[in-house]
């Protein structure tokens, strides 16, 4: 078996063969996009250039459909909001100054489609990718989170996807040594053929150690380090090879390559330690992770962020497979690789550190004066492009936008007519039914597969409202994070839905005692070519940006994932919002479970209205989705947050749990079970008990305050205009949740209902 040496399509060859047919359509480029590439280059692109442009101009890399909308985040961010931001949208990840000389960086990313094709590896490499983004900023990755969406829990294929994704998130994150401090597990049939795997990573560094990727300084070396480059994820680009070689696997073409990448968390763990040592020894000028578009992305982005010139000797790239073409090497999505720019005098020290960690490092080129990215292959020029045209000047689309024709009908179909429970027996049974429903049941089956302890900084993780980590052992400064999104709310009203997601994440962070300071997002939508989807997207972006402006916290970064649909049916619009909070002393964190102190009073903060549009109750009991989502009041959320943080600071609050899906009933169940303590609850006799227990009105939190602090705390609420009501007392002796006038539920029975559901479905 002899490998045929590929004849390489050089720039010279391209100039001489202007009319050669190229498979640009198979690579996803439109006629006018291809024409523009020819115009930029003044000739047809080489195979390698075509590979680069096609992947960098894809929706995923170029944000061509979302760009015009995302700029709204920048427009709505004031200087005041920006004041704590050290890096924002456009960088690998946003960076926020959190005090004591610490900078925190965090970002979420999606890996949805790969996680359907090969759930384990798709999820694993999703985690790996976001961790490298954080690492590229110069930060030590500290924790991960994983907002997940799955199809109908009863459907046969859901089991495959759940098992694979959860094991993949755990397998990679556990082996990497990053605690998993939170996430989401949501089931809805719209995700049946298109689960969502979003992964978030948070890291920290000293403010002065912030590294932004750039490649300035003529003569600086470009070093590729980490794993070897193989045929991973180049399924699309294989059309180039097959075009030249007739597409037969045995003649050098590679028709049927899987687009699947396999992760190697061990290599990534070593890469993390190696990178951190490189940063600490100050032997790198800039660093870039290799993500979606591999070397195409890393070289063009590094070059355009610097002075613009770079020469890469592509044949030096260490390969894992034989006979790879330049186009394949440039497009390979092999994981666990990084690219650094290093001063010539630091190269020896750089290589020594890599050798210590057994990391393969190769000098693959240099920064040049001039403004072209030139890539050679065995001495022949295969790429010669202005790098900005690859990395940043891709196409921009103003896609048609149209409010869906059935949106009015959807909103008019309110849940008002749905049958409600009325007798105490029905209400009591509903508490258990809701607690055991797949979206409200305990997430333990999932989270027990994730290491939440490693690194010893985890202060709060599941089942708390937010994940919290200590970042400084001497001062006890820490950060808290929560991700949220209710796709049903967003479907009913994308603008309000995005704000509700923001409000919930904000509230979760504040509920644990931290002050929210910054936002990231992962916007999962259907096809941008569908005007109705674009309307949802535009509305959600507007809602989120306006909401952030009202709360005074900036969006520091995010990710857009389009084409999430099965056939022509889009998933529920799912703009996952992540909020980062700061807490100056993690020892004053507020736990979620009640019973930490004897004789606590239970207070409900906020207003409860008859709001059931998009609620979990309508979904579980009636399979209904219609009407309007709950009202958003961000000023109220802000006040609520301030009260909670003040309460934590002054030791007035011993536990708190925010109200969201399932309303007060579910919050009570969780607060009791997590705290392993019973409670006696009294409802307002003048109001509808069903509404009091199950409404999903926003802006509410259940707090437990020690008897001695009750007056001080309620006085503060009253003085600041926050409605509160006394809803019960903690009762350690009871061993039950007693709702007066309705009935009593022994904790053991509730625990069984809450904890048995996911094991029953998936064990």
């Amino acid at each position: 078996m002899t490998a045929i040496q590929p004849a390489v399509d050089t720039v010279e060859h391209a100039s001489g063969t202007p009319d050669l047919e190229q498979p640009y359509r198979e690579l996803g480029l439109k006629d006018d996009e291809y024409a523009r590439i020819k115009e930029i280059l003044g000739r047809r692109p080489t195979d390698a250039e075509l590979a680069m442009y096609s992947v960098m101009w894809s929706e995923h890399c170029s944000y061509k459909s979302s760009k015009v909308h995302l700029s709204y985040f920048g427009e709505t961010t004031t200087d005041e909001m920006r004041s704590k931001m050290l890096a924002g949208i456009g960088e690998n990840a946003g960076v926020v100054d959190v005090g004591d000389g610490w900078a925190v960086t965090f970002k979420a990313e999606s890996h949805n489609h790969p996680s359907y094709v090969e759930p384990y590896q798709g999820a694993a490499t999703g985690v790996g990718g976001i961790v490298r983004d954080i690492l590229a900023m110069g930060a030590r990755p500290l924790a991960v989170m994983d907002p997940l969406r799955f199809g109908d829990p009863e459907a046969a294929d859901t089991r495959r996807v759940v098992h694979g994704i959860v094991a993949g998130v755990g397998g990679y994150g556990n082996c990497l040594g990053l605690p998993n401090i939170g996430g989401e597990v949501v089931f809805d049939s719209s995700y049946q053929g298109n689960p969502l795997l979003n992964a978030l990573c948070v890291g920290a560094m000293r403010v002065e150690d912030l590294h932004l990727a750039h490649a300035s300084g003529t003569g600086n070396r470009v070093v590729l380090f980490g794993a070897r480059t193989g045929l991973d994820g180049i399924g699309g680009v294989s059309v180039l090879a097959s075009e030249t070689f007739g597409g037969d696997e045995h003649s050098g073409g590679r028709k049927k390559l899987p687009a699947v990448q396999v992760g190697d968390p061990f290599t990534e763990k070593v890469l993390i330690e190696c990178c951190l040592e490189l940063f600490a020894q100050r032997v790198v000028v800039g660093i870039q992770d290799l993500g979606g578009a591999g070397l195409s992305c890393a070289t063009s982005e590094l070059a355009s962020a610097g002075d613009g010139g770079m020469h890469v000797y592509l044949d030096r790239v260490p390969l894992r497979a034989t006979g790879m073409t330049p186009a394949e090497v440039l497009s390979s999505e092999s994981q666990e690789r990084m690219c650094a720019v290093v001063k010539p005098e630091d190269v020896d020290a750089f290589m020594a550190i890599c050798a210590k960690w057994d990391v393969i490092a190769t000098d693959i080129g240099e920064v040049t004066d001039g403004d072209h990215l030139v890539i050679t292959w065995n001495g022949e020029v295969v790429v010669d492009v202005p790098p900005r045209t690859v990395a940043h000047e891709g196409p921009v689309y103003h896609r048609p936008i149209e409010r869906p024709a059935d949106q009015d009908a959807l909103q008019a179909d309110t849940p008002d007519a749905l049958a409600r429970p009325s007798t105490p027996e029905e209400l009591l049974a509903l508490v258990t039914t809701m607690a055991s429903s797949p979206n409200l049941a305990s997430r333990k089956w999932v989270t027990d597969q994730y290491d939440r302890y490693v690194r010893g900084g985890t202060v709060l993780a599941q089942p708390s409202d937010s994940g919290m980590i200590r970042i400084d052992e001497t001062t006890n400064r820490g950060v808290a994070l929560s991700t949220d999104c209710n796709g049903r709310f967003t479907k009913l009203d994308p603008y309000a839905g995005a704000q509700l997601a923001l409000a919930e994440a904000y509230r979760n962070v504040a509920t644990s005692g931290a002050t929210p300071v910054a936002v990231t997002n992962c916007l999962n939508f259907g096809s941008p070519e569908d005007p109705a989807v674009m309307w949802q997207f535009e509305q959600a972006v507007k809602g989120l940006a306006d909401g952030c402006a009202e709360l005074g916290i900036p969006v520091t970064g995010g990710n857009v994932s389009f084409y999430n649909q099965t056939g022509s049916t889009a998933v529920l619009p799912t703009p996952v919002v992540g909020v980062l909070g700061v807490i100056d002393d993690v020892r004053r964190r507020i736990p979620t479970g009640i019973g930490a102190e004897a004789g606590e009073t239970l207070l409900l903060l906020g207003d409860t209205r008859d709001e059931f549009g998009g609620s979990e109750w309508a979904h579980v009991v009636h399979g209904h989705l219609g009407g309007l989502p709950p009202k958003v009041d961000l000023a109220r959320e802000k006040l609520l947050g301030e009260i909670l943080v003040a309460g934590s600071r002054d030791g007035m609050v011993s536990a708190a749990h925010d109200l969201s899906d399932g309303g007060l009933a579910q919050a009570l169940v969780e607060a009791c079970l997590i705290g392993e303590t019973g409670a006696r609850v009294f409802l307002d006799g003048d109001a509808d008990p069903f509404v009091q227990l199950f409404s999903e009105s926003a802006g509410r939190v259940l707090v437990a305050v020690p008897r001695t602090e009750e007056l001080r705390f309620t006085d503060m609420c009253t003085a600041r205009g926050l409605p509160w009501s006394k809803v019960g007392v903690v009762d350690p002796e009871a061993g039950a949740l007693e709702i007066q006038g309705i009935g009593t539920l022994p904790l053991a029975e509730l625990r069984e209902a809450w904890e048995a559901t996911l094991p029953a479905l998936f064990d």
Binding site: D264, D448, Y453, V454, G456, V459
Partner: protein, 226 residues
């Protein structure tokens, strides 16, 4: 001068920072040891921490046992130096032959992370003397291959000689034979366990501070150097 306790880092070790912190919380000095360097730097005891040494792709601990530092540890253990293996460290000590038996995939095949009750069965080892015999402690367990296996003869021997140090209570989390969570060498100086006492040294970041006793016990075993 305080007690000097070596903490080994292999490529892929994860809980070394935590083990070192636990050593410091016990008022001893944590001395970093590097897998490729056979020098034990004059330490009084060694902790082999948790993680996935060299990725653990072949079999947990299979590659790490051959590391230069482990050759020194094996030799020092032979002369009575206290050695503690936690999780991956336990697996490495078994692979290295310092402790009998082996650890296999959890019976439910999933990685398990949970707060786990353990019973202290033997309080005469270098790493358990601070506990009352029969005491129950709550520490994190987090592992995918934590099922303790050994042939019947070995098990009989371990039980007969009282060399089971920690036993799971409240249900077997991973299919370990005889609910074994941790064992010791015949001389009581080498101890290996799957659960993580180093993650239970303060209530802020662990379920309890029950695990600190493991590290404090060492002071009794070695004595504080003058």
């Amino acid at each position: 001068m305080s007690l000097r306790v070596g903490v080994i880092t292999f490529p892929g070790t994860l809980d070394d920072v935590d083990a070192a912190r636990a050593v410091r919380y016990a008022d001893a000095e944590a001395v970093p040891l590097w897998h490729a360097d056979p020098d034990l730097r004059g330490v009084d005891a060694v902790v082999v921490p948790g993680g996935f040494s060299y990725g653990d792709y072949l079999r947990c601990g299979a590659i790490a046992r051959f590391a230069p530092v482990m050759q020194s540890v094996i030799e020092a253990a032979g002369k009575g130096m206290p050695v503690l293996g936690i999780c991956n460290g336990f697996q490495i000590l078994c692979e290295a032959g310092l402790l009998p038996g082996a650890l296999v995939r959890n019976s439910k095949l999933h990685f398990v992370c949970r707060d786990q009750w353990l019973k202290v069965e033997n309080n005469t080892t270098a790493w358990s003397s601070r506990y009352e015999r029969g005491a129950e402690i709550l520490v994190p367990l987090k592992s995918g291959e934590g099922g303790y296996q050994a042939d019947q003869r070995t098990l009989d021997e371990l039980e007969g000689e009282g060399r089971v140090v920690f036993r799971y209570v409240g249900g077997n989390p991973n299919g370990s034979r005889n609910e074994i969570a941790g064992i010791t060498s015949a001389n009581g100086r080498v101890v290996g366990l799957m659960p993580h006492p180093e993650h239970a040294i303060e209530a802020l970041t662990g379920p309890t501070d029950d695990g600190l006793g493991v590290f404090l016990s060492l002071i009794d075993a070695v004595g504080v150097p003058a």
